[in-house]
């Protein structure tokens, strides 16, 4: 058996032992609305290439995964799933992961075992905490999040492997749009995302763009559109080439002149300010 599809089977409450089906390559049980648990054997299907559990709204947990052939993992719209599965060993085939409308609150430290992950997309997720192990993911170049209810950034937690605070992630595109970010968020950028080139912070709640943003030497594109509480800009990244701050209703006049001065000091600077 290589392909198993039990999409929309409302009678399924549990995925049983599948160790008798070691050749499975593609499994789908989308929208199984009664599904609550999955047997641990599921995490050890060595040939599994694609796994979809989209829309299993009662699924509470996912077994630890050791799926070395897995390229496609779909867990969106699992409203009861509060934790992302542990990744037991290197799973080097997944390059993109999209989590939409999940209630996953944090990604485990073992997340770094997704060694080839390049893009992480999160939409309509609740408060989510990134693991400090993201600095051990050299291929991870894009983190794109929209409409999160909050965002907690990596911090060293007791019991986790020690990660040097001197190391920053390789993320060069960070989108955190509409994620309810407040002023205490900014120190995270130079600490964990010092290599970021494109930073989109549109539709957030912070009031000040602090001076520490000047420490982001790689940053060349910054988007602050519709940050309605933003009043003041205290720092501008030194290599910025493109700044968009449209519909920032609370901008003070001194803030506008700071930005305009920046335009004159930098020949190739492109700025949108309405």
């Amino acid at each position: 058996m290589t392909l198993l599809n039990f999409d929309e089977c409302e009678g399924l409450t549990h995925i049983p032992d599948v160790s008798g089906l070691p050749n499975l390559e593609k499994v789908s049980f989308k929208n199984c609305k009664s599904l609550v648990t999955i047997h641990d054997s599921f995490g050890f299907l060595g040939k599994l290439n694609s796994l979809s559990a989209v829309g299993c709204s009662k699924l509470r947990s996912f077994p630890p995964l050791k799926l070395t052939s897995l390229e496609n993992l779909e867990l969106s719209y699992c409203h009861s799933l509060e934790s992302f599965p542990e990744i037991l060993e290197k799973m080097g085939k997944i390059t993109e992961l999209v989590l939409e409308d999940c209630h996953i609150k944090e990604l485990p430290f073992s997340f770094h075992n997704l060694t080839e992950l390049q893009t992480l997309q999160l939409r309509w997720c609740p408060i989510l905490r990134l693991p400090s192990s993201i600095v051990m993911m050299p291929k991870l170049a894009q983190i794109i999040a929209w409409e999160s209810k909050g965002w907690l950034f990596p911090k060293q937690v007791e019991g986790e492997e020690k990660v040097s605070s001197m190391v920053s992630s390789n993320v060069d595109c960070l989108v955190l749009s509409g994620c309810k970010l407040s002023d205490d968020f900014f120190p995270v950028i130079p600490e964990w995302f010092s290599n970021v080139k494109d930073l989109d912070l549109s539709r957030n709640n912070f009031t000040v763009l602090p001076e520490c943003i000047s420490n982001c030497h790689s940053l060349c594109k910054l988007t602050l559109d519709s940050c309605h509480s933003l009043q003041e800009i205290r720092g501008i990244p030194p290599n910025i080439r493109h700044l968009s701050a449209r519909y920032c209703k609370s901008f003070t006049s001194s803030c506008r002149s700071t930005l305009l001065n920046q335009v004159f000091s930098c020949f190739t600077f492109v700025m949108y300010l309405i």
């Binding site: 058996m1 290589t2 392909l3 009678g11 409450t13 049983p16 008798g20 390559e25």
Partner: protein, 86 residues
């Protein structure tokens, strides 16, 4: 139909499930399969593709199905060699 290898039903409406399915089946695709399980004497050892979306299958039936497939170290049939998903 002892040699039937592929059975695909996408739009049929049946009041009850089949009493018999040939053991030669490699592909079984049946939208809204009307029964909770496969026929008791069906041996799924040769089955490579099983798609039963929107069926009445329950967890117990799936467990039996998985058990029945156990110890069937099965190599891919030739008909799927050109199929990228198989």
């Amino acid at each position: 139909m002892k040699n039937l290898k592929t059975l695909i039903i996408k739009k049929g409406k049946f009041s009850e499930g089949p009493k018999y399915l040939p053991n030669s089946l490699r592909v079984l695709e049946w939208l809204k399969y009307p029964s909770q399980g496969l026929p008791p004497d069906f041996r799924s050892k040769k089955l490579a593709i099983c798609k039963l979306p929107s069926s009445s299958f329950g967890s117990l039936e799936l467990a039996e199905f998985s058990k029945a497939s156990m110890n069937s170290s099965f190599s891919k049939p030739n008909i799927f060699n050109s199929h990228p998903n198989c």
